[in-house]
Structure formats: structure tokens, C-alpha cells
Amino acid sequence: MGSFATNYEEIAAVLLFVIGMSNLVFQPNLLKKIIGLDIMDAAVYLFLAAKGYIEGRTAPIVVDGILDASHYINPVPAGLVLTGIVVSVSVSALMMALTVCLYREYHTLNIDEIMMKLRKEED
């Protein structure tokens, strides 16, 4: 059972997650929202990778034919994160394309202003 002092990687990951999420939700600027999204995803992956680390062991690439589980770290989280990074880059590319289209339509990057212009359009 760990505590605050030993789980510093996880604590940093959680703080980054919250910073990224509040940027994604509450930041009015669209590009900063996307950066917040990337930070949020990176934080979850940091959390996952930190869970796979084992003190004093090496990366899971077989060297000198040693096939002993007590010699390498856990390979599962690394595989999951590798999958996740590509998901996050495709999502952020999509968001950037949306941003360009919105800018072409409304000439602003501020979501509040966009909403205001949209409401004016409707009335």
C-alpha cells in the first residue's frame, strides 16, 4: 500500500489530468482547448506507464536471451499507451480541422463569441 510520498508520479499525473481537463472544458480559446486535450491524454498515459514501472528492472526488450519475468518491467501498460497516443493525435487533428472551419465561418477563436454570433444568426 503506497502513500502520497511514494506515489509522486501518479500525483503529478492526476494534477496534469485535472489541469488538462479544466483547460479543455473551461478555456474559451479553441486552440488552447486542444492543447488541454493533449495534456489530459498525456497525463492518463503517464499514470498508466507509471503503474507498469518496477524499480530496478529494465525495458522489456530481450537481451542476452534472459527470459525471466523478474528482469523486465511490465510490458502491458506500454502497449496500451502506444495505442492511446495514436488515438489522441487523431482526435486532436480532427479538432484542429474543426477549429479552422469555425474560424473561416465566424472569424474568431473564442467559443463564447462564436456562441453569441450563432445566437444572433438564429434570431
Binding site: 492518463v44 498508466l48 503503474k51 495505442t83 482526435v91 479538432m95 472551419c101 450563432l118 444568426e121
Partner: protein, 497 residues
């Protein structure tokens, strides 16, 4: 291993492959590929359903050469096969029902991309239904989200961009929370496949360790999937997203996309976290409360709305509230009612959205009440379809909506102290539903003088009419012969445990 047991895997791979191959085809061929794919999926799923119902037990299917805790896996039971049948059926009817609109509203050079999105949506829904692995579920949730975003913005107007952006932001928060819940679950159990994770969790619960992380996992997973499916306080993206896109896309988004997440949540509750620990964590009470609030507030917002498509979208918020209320009852009967409502709401909502497109077509393309007067007289099939859908929503006997309301009400009788609340809210919600749907139906059949609207020469698209009639028949059929479906759901839920 019988050859039939391969069919779910064929369904998933077939829909992915048709998406890939459509990338180099033109729009017309992509359409044929999509139709052929959905038909094939429907037939294969029916075969799977009859096979599983015949043997009476579920089975797992290895995705690769390695068994359970090592390789990926899908799991097929009666409930999964039933959901696959209904999802492919509704997908097929929705696409047929809006075919002429798709041809008109989507640019020619982008039609094949539209059908790619539909194909991948089908693949991800099937994978979400069948998967037995939590990380696979996450990957396919992302495919589902991106494809749904593409469907929302397919019309390429400023407003649809804004609604797509809002949808993306909410869904990304949802998937972030789901992923971190998954990470916590992995760090206390060490498994990503559902069955081994459940065994590990049972041991953890037996020795009372990791109680706080377990509670937080339940909260994060539920809230994450709740946000993505549009549970009440997180519903703000729904009206915009459903209200302005092309009719087929609205029908698919409201009746399939959000339901896929709810089904995954039910599956995680039963197959990973264990329904008993969900009940003891009081999460069901929170879901019940939000479901009940959503039922009322969604209907109130629908009454205030003057645009008929947005009104129907708000009504979806209320109906998702019904489903979560059924889950929140915390009994098996409640879950059966919720699953039945997933199916029946899919049937009703796709009918409503498709008929609305037929009605606005004969009203200068406007969808507010004043313009829609007499629209039911100008387009009789769409008017009849909207009437049937509305009556079903209200809970008219012989239609499917009645059965789900009856199931909810009878499930509430065994739910102890939630019984009175559930009954009262069901009654209030029915009254509110009646108010806004009957007002709309009366408006539709209110005659107007001929000179207000010019004569419309309806493009008689036979395929759209056939799809709408098919959905009406499905509504009636589910209402009259609901017993086999309910029995299948009960058997499927028993297989979950």
C-alpha cells in the same frame, strides 16, 4: 467449434473491411457496399441469435491464438446477439428512410466518406456489444465518437460545426474519465479482460482491501459513459447535435450511438464490477435520481421548444432518463425494462426523426410550429408515421412504448422505497409527453387555406416510404408480440452473470 460461432467476428471484420474498401470507391458504389454490409450483418446476427438461443449458453471467441487472460476476446450471449440484430435493423431502416436526403444534402465527392463513417459506426457498435476486453471497448468508443462527430457535421454549416465541437468536447471529457477509471481498475486487478478482472475484483471485495479505489472506479466509469450517452446534467450537446444534421444521421445518433454506450455500461456493471457492489455503492441511487430529474426536465424543455426537431431531441434526453431510471431501480426487472427501452426507444425515435424530415419538406423546409400547420395533410405517410411514433412515445397500448412503460412500472413494484417516486414520475412524464406530442399532432392535422403553401409535388421515393412503413410495423409488432423479446433479454441477462 460450429461454423455459426464465427459469425459475430465476421460481422465486425466485414463492416470494417467495407469501410476500408469504400475509401477508393465513388458514392454510389459505397452506398451499395454499405447496404450489402448491413444486410449481411443482419442475417449473420439472426443466425447467431438462433444458435445461441438454441444452445442456451454463451461462448467466448478468441481473437488470435491465445486464450483468455492473454489475448483479445469477444463474448457472445443471447442479449448481445439480440442487440446486434436490432442495431443492424435500425441502422438499415434509418439509412433507407433518409436515402433521398443523403443524396441531396451530402456533397457528391463526400458521399463515400459518409458511408465510410456509417460502416465504421456499425463496426464500433458491434465491437462495443460483443467485446469482452475493456481496452478494446475504449478504442472502439473513440471510433464511435469520431464517426458520430463526422455524422453531425456532414452538412458543413456554421451551426453544425459548433454542435460538433460541443459534442466532441463533452465526449472527450467522458472518454478521459472512462480511461482513467480503466487505469485505476487495471492497477488494482491487473486484468483488462472482463471475466478475469471480475474474479480478481471478487477476491478484493472479499478481503475488503482497496475500497476507496473501487468506489472511485465505479463513479468514474459511470460518469464517463453517462456523459457520452447524454445523461441529464450533461445533455446540453444533444439538441444541437440531433437538431441540424441530415435526418438519417439524427435517427442513427439518437437511437444507436448513445445506446451503445449505455449497453456497454450495463455490461461493465454485470460482467466486471458486479451488480451487487454497484448496489452497495449507492451508485444506483444516484443514477435513479439523475434519471428521474432528466425525465422531467427533458420533457419541460421539449414543451418550451418551438422547433419540432429540437423538441424531439429534448424528448431523447427524457427517454435516456427513463433508461437510467430503470438501471437505478437496482433490480433485474429494472434492467430488463431498461434494455427493452433501449430497443423500443431506438424504434420510436428513428421513426420520429425520419417522419419529421418528410413533414418539413412540405413546409418550405421550416420546422417551427407555425409553418408545420397542416403538414400531415400534405404528406400523409409522414403524418401517419409521426402520429404512430408520438402515440408510441406517450404509451398507447398495442404500441411498443406502452410495453416499456408497463415494464418500468411493474419493475418499480419490487424496488422498495423507490416505488412511489418511480410511479409518480412515470405518470408526470407521461402527462408531459402527451402535452407536447399531442399538440404537435393536432398542429399537423390543422387545415390551412390552400394559398399559404404552394402545391408540393412530392418526390415519391419508394425506398423511403418502405422504410417508414417498416418502422411503423416494427413499432406495432414490438407492441403486440413483445413476449419473445422480453424472454430473450431475461435469458441474456442470466447469461451475463
Amino acid at each position: 467449434m460450429a461454423f455459426v460461432q464465427n459469425f459475430p467476428f465476421f460481422c465486425i471484420i466485414l463492416s470494417m473491411f467495407s469501410a476500408i474498401i469504400s475509401f477508393v470507391m465513388n458514392g454510389r458504389i459505397a452506398k451499395y457496399i454499405h447496404v450489402a454490409m448491413v444486410t449481411a450483418v443482419l442475417i449473420l446476427s439472426l443466425a447467431t441469435l438462433s444458435f445461441v438461443a438454441g444452445t442456451g449458453e454463451s461462448y467466448t471467441f478468441m481473437m488470435g491464438h491465445f486464450p483468455a487472460p492473454w489475448g483479445n476476446e469477444i463474448r457472445i450471449g443471447e442479449l448481445e446477439a439480440l442487440m446486434a440484430v436490432f442495431f443492424s435493423l435500425i441502422m438499415m431502416l434509418s439509412v433507407f428512410g433518409g436515402m433521398a436526403h443523403i443524396d441531396r444534402e451530402v456533397q457528391d465527392s463526400k458521399k463515400n466518406l459518409f458511408y465510410i463513417l456509417l460502416d465504421l459506426l456499425m463496426a464500433s457498435l458491434l465491437a462495443l456489444i460483443y467485446t469482452n476486453d475493456l481496452f478494446t471497448a475504449y478504442v472502439f468508443i473513440e471510433i464511435n465518437t469520431i464517426a458520430a462527430c463526422g455524422l453531425i457535421m456532414i452538412k458543413k454549416q456554421g451551426r453544425t460545426y459548433v454542435s460538433a465541437l460541443r459534442y466532441m468536447i463533452m465526449s472527450l471529457v467522458g472518454s478521459g474519465l472512462f480511461l482513467i477509471g480503466l487505469t485505476l481498475l487495471y492497477s488494482i486487478t491487473g486484468h483488462l479482460l472482463m471475466s478475469p478482472a471480475k474474479e480478481a475484483l471478487d477476491q478484493i471485495i472479499a478481503v475488503h482491501s482497496y475500497q476507496v479505489p473501487l468506489m472511485v472506479i465505479i463513479i468514474l466509469v459511470t460518469v464517463g459513459l453517462g456523459i457520452k450517452s447524454g445523461l441529464y446534467p450533461f445533455h446540453t450537446w444533444i439538441p444541437d447535435a440531433y437538431g441540424y444534421t441530415t435526418p438519417s444521421a439524427s435517427a442513427i445518433l439518437s437511437s444507436l450511438v448513445s445506446k451503445g454506450y449505455i449497453f456497454l455500461l450495463i455490461k461493465i456493471f454485470y460482467r466486471v464490477l458486479g451488480f451487487d457492489s454497484i448496489i452497495s455503492s449507492h451508485m444506483v441511487n444516484i443514477l435513479f435520481a439523475f434519471g428521474v430529474i432528466g425525465m422531467i426536465m427533458g420533457s419541460v424543455a421539449a414543451i418550451k421548444e418551438r422547433n419540432i426537431r429540437r423538441m424531439t431531441a429534448y424528448s431523447s434526453v427524457a427517454q435516456i432518463g427513463y433508461i437510467y431510471m430503470g438501471l437505478g431501480l437496482g433490480t433485474t426487472a429494472g434492467v430488463v425494462a431498461a434494455v427493452f427501452h433501449i430497443i423500443s426507444h431506438g424504434v420510436m425515435k428513428s421513426l420520429l426523426f425520419l417522419s419529421i424530415s418528410g413533414l418539413t419538406e412540405v413546409s418550405d423546409g421550416r420546422s417551427d410550429y407555425l409553418s408545420l400547420r397542416g403538414a400531415g395533410l400534405r404528406n400523409r405517410i409522414a403524418g401517419a408515421a409521426f402520429t404512430v411514433g408520438s402515440l408510441s412515445m406517450i404509451g398507447m397500448p398495442l404500441l411498443t412504448g406502452f410495453i416499456s412503460k408497463y415494464l418500468f412500472a411493474s419493475a418499480a413494484t419490487t424496488a422498495g422505497n423507490k416505488m412511489i417516486t418511480a410511479w409518480v414520475v412515470l405518470a408526470i412524464s407521461t402527462v408531459l409527453n402527451t402535452m407536447y406530442f399531442m399538440r404537435t399532432v393536432l398542429t399537423l392535422y390543422r387545415p390551412v387555406s390552400a394559398e399559404v403553401h404552394k402545391e408540393y409535388t412530392l418526390e415519391k421515393s419508394k425506398i423511403e416510404r418502405a422504410a417508414i412503413i417498416g418502422l411503423i410495423l416494427l413499432n406495432i409488432g414490438l407492441g403486440v408480440a413483445s413476449q419473445p423479446v422480453i424472454k430473450a433479454i431475461e435469458a441474456g441477462l442470466a447469461m451475463f452473470g
